[in-house]
Symmetry: C3
Subunit: 176 residues, 3 copies
């Protein structure tokens, strides 16, 4: 068992996920091979998101995940098999997308099925990542009248919604 | 520190959890020793779930976790100690059970306390797994009038509940 | 790559997080160096929580996280770099705080930025841990009339709130 390679692939995956949630679009490209493919099984768009090539993938992130969209990707439970300069990996994950201005939260869970490739420079990259949903659901923050953001929300968005007054009351009862 | 054994035990646990959430009842038996015991501390049944033997455990999963029950198990933070052909492990986890037809969600968190055993075939298996709850709670989806499943729900279930019309309105405002 | 050190640091972090959620205040001190610093980016107090020294940190936990406060810390996706007897680590995490008596839930996500130090006794300890929020939000359990605790709640708290009757009805429809 090549434990060093397993750790390298884990750190690759963690960097990818961190770049998404921290919106590091200048850095994220290097985690993919140039001809990488993705097949995200989200149903938010009515059909799965299939893309080909590092450039298309990064351009999608840049165009769709602006500051008004909070994304949270928690992946773990990796089952990785290495075969020379290629590898496959299964990862369990849950993701949450908070569309702050629309006051909508989308939650889902799935298992990633990934392929990895070691390049001429010795670095592992994602050649393919994709998943099918165990479930996916959406809800409206307005169904929770006392819901209130404390951090992470763009300034303009903080004043929207219906949480103003009641939110303040709730804050007064928070743990101190 | 026997890092290969730690990785083998981690992958064993991940396979177990994946078989549960993917409902792979033909595969899950092999993760347990024949005389394995479980002591799940869920309070959904009013008392903890104690079972003995691979056959009883697998039969329980098969009978109780059909397509109308979505289960999500996220475990991590393993603290594993190996002593020859036996090992113990603590794992932090959160689980969510969505009873689609009853429109009920049960959430909980706990630390697994596991024992593992290496068999004559060299493979590690779960000899015991159990946990006591940090907390467990249930809620009704009907408290969220705009809640809507996007994926993962059996066909028949999609038409139940009260989300039909308002769900559609929310979908129209989702991220695109 | 020093895989043994990576595992030692992971287990250190897991012990720290487990001591918090299990409220093991007599044990938690040893995970910190004597002069450790923390900079928790929660906004619950209106400003980040900065503390210096093992004693101050442990005293804070002991004073603020009593049995009526349930905390859940799920961390993973570690990116750790080792340099001799010091190391740095990035960890993705989500935390949930349930203030049972106030019937308030605070949820957040962030990336920890940690520094670790190996002592004269050979043990790794946390020299600094801190984070900035990706988001943080609070909600009131009373917005979910059917919400009901099944486990993990102090006896006195179980009778507070408005869930009594409706909660019982929901329990009757739970998975069996």
């Amino acid at each position: 068992m090549d434990l060093v390679t397993l750790e390298e692939i884990r750190q690759l995956k963690y960097r990818y996920l961190r770049c998404v949630d921290q919106k590091l679009w200048d850095e994220i490209g290097d985690v993919f091979t140039l001809d990488a493919t993705v097949a995200y099984g989200t149903q938010v768009y009515g059909k799965p998101l299939n893309m080909t090539g590092r450039d298309e993938i990064v351009a999608f992130f840049r165009a769709n995940l602006g500051p008004e969209i909070i994304t949270l990707h928690a992946a773990g439970q990796p089952e990785i098999s290495v075969d020379g300069d290629t590898a496959t990996g299964s990862w369990r994950f849950e993701d949450t997308v908070i569309a702050v201005e629309h006051r909508v939260v989308i939650s889902g869970a799935a298992f990633y099925q990934d392929r990895y490739q070691r390049g001429a420079d010795g670095a592992w990259r994602i050649a393919h990542t994709g998943y099918k949903r165990l479930y996916e659901a959406m809800m409206a923050l307005d169904d929770l009248p006392n819901f209130k953001f404390l951090a992470g929300v763009p300034k303009a968005a903080k004043t929207t919604g219906t949480t103003g007054t009641t939110g303040t009351n709730v804050a007064d009862t928070a743990v101190r």
